[in-house]
Amino acid sequence: MTDLLELIELRTVLGDGAMGTMLLEHGLSPGDCPEAWNLEHPEIVSSIHQGYVDAGSDFIETNTFGANPIKLARFDLDRKLEDIIRAGVDLARQAAGKRCLVAASIGPTGALLQPYGDTPREKVADAFRATVQAVAQADIDFFLVETMSDPEEARLAIGAIREFSDRPIVATMAFTKGAKGYRTMMGTTPEQCATVLADAGAHIVGVNCCAGTGEAAEIVAEMRQVSSYPLIAQPNAGAPKLERGRAVYPESPQSFARGMEQVLAEGAVIIGGCCGTTPEHILEIASLMGKC
């Protein structure tokens, strides 16, 4: 399998869809640690990966989004960090085989950095170091730092990766739309984030976990204004609505795939899905791309 950076020179790259909302569909309870399922229910994690591989993903993401010492400590699972990561990478690699690449998913710690919050920078940096060291020992193709709300935390994650690995780094942030346009929780714009992520050492930058393909297209367009870096977008299947006590994501596979055509037109070279997307969403994009 070609390296990610070579692959994006050749053609549009298709990622996978959601893991977290899929696990919830399969019985993960609110308040459970999703990454613990790498050890407790590996067959379910595997089957979700397999769905994306079969749908035509060029890469799948390990179920390690929250596998960092700070987040795992909230579940009293920090001692299991390495086991959870090793199992997560193995499950993805087995499903991927030679058919697609494996990306190590690295999400935020959930802690707010000083001076705004109470968590020292060094504690967050060490948390990412521990995660990256465990990941770097396993068989992954590239890193995907995602759903970051604080550019500074994203920088720490990217910095930790650069300390221990020379694999490519993809970094995405979450934005919401307000009166002044798209901003992260910390108030940074897509343009600012694209620059910060690239300066920190990411090879590919972009957006994920935004409310739908329309927002993703607008955010990619804003990043394109300032960044010559390859761009990635992995939006949610719209903003969730509640129906009979369950979150329902409004973008069907068909409308999601059509929406992603606009995201590509704005200049994204890697596309995929976040919350609420399924193998059907990925399959629909794959067929529009003429992959099957």
Partner: protein, 211 residues
């Protein structure tokens, strides 16, 4: 001593400045209750308005709240001595099954900034703890936060339990968090929905005025 300078220090998130100016105001003999209302609470009010208008974001609000906390360390003992009561007691927490506390902390800090006493139960708080804390501490408002669509229904259990315990009406409930909407708040019978931390302050003030 110009209290406006202290108010501006709070708005700017200048922690050291807020502390120093509070010291000076106390030394100048300004009544603690006046310092609280006209500088600190007034400053946080303005930050809340700026936040609602997207003129400032979470970092600025947190620094302003921390500046107010610096000032309050000096002021609190004096307020107690003067017999000045908090504007009200509010129990806050993130609901059962949900470990996300950034939003809840922001709401707690803003409410504190408005002069309320906050009983923060942390995250993953079961309905029984919300109700017990409110009853034992004499709080008249419960604020509940959820980031996940899967955990927000735990809010309804707290509201139902309040009714079962006969505290319905005595204790108001306000709910918020990314997936929470006005329609959802209506559906579960919450007293009110807050779209952001500044709105939570408005709601709490309204509840107190109604009592």
């Amino acid at each position: 001593m110009d209290l406006n300078r202290l108010k501006q220090a709070v708005i700017a998130g200048d922690m050291a400045g807020a502390r120093k100016l509070t010291e000076q105001a106390i030394e100048a003999g300004i009544e603690p209750g006046v310092i609280l209302d006209e500088a600190l609470v007034a400053g946080m009010d303005e930050v809340g308005e700026l936040f609602k208008a997207n003129e400032v974001y979470v970092p600025e609000v947190l620094l302003a709240a921390k500046s107010m906390q610096q000032a309050m360390q000096l002021l609190k003992p004096l307020l107690v001595k003067d017999g000045i009561e908090p504007k009200g007691k509010i129990v806050v927490g993130t609901v059962r099954g949900d470990l996300h506390d950034i939003g809840k902390n922001l709401v707690a800090m803003m409410l504190e900034g408005a002069g309320f006493e906050i009983i923060d139960l942390g995250n993953d708080v079961p309905p029984e703890r919300f109700v017990k804390a409110a009853a034992e501490q004499g709080a008249t408002i419960i604020g509940m936060s959820a980031l996940l669509t899967t955990t927000m229904y735990a809010m309804k259990e707290t509201i139902d339990l309040l009714k079962a315990e006969g505290l319905d009406g005595k204790v108001k409930t306000m709910v918020g968090g990314a997936p929470v909407t006005q329609a959802f708040a209506d559906e579960i019978g919450a007293s009110a929905y807050g779209d952001d931390a500044a709105t939570a302050v408005d709601l709490a003030k309204r509840f107190m005025a109604e009592q």
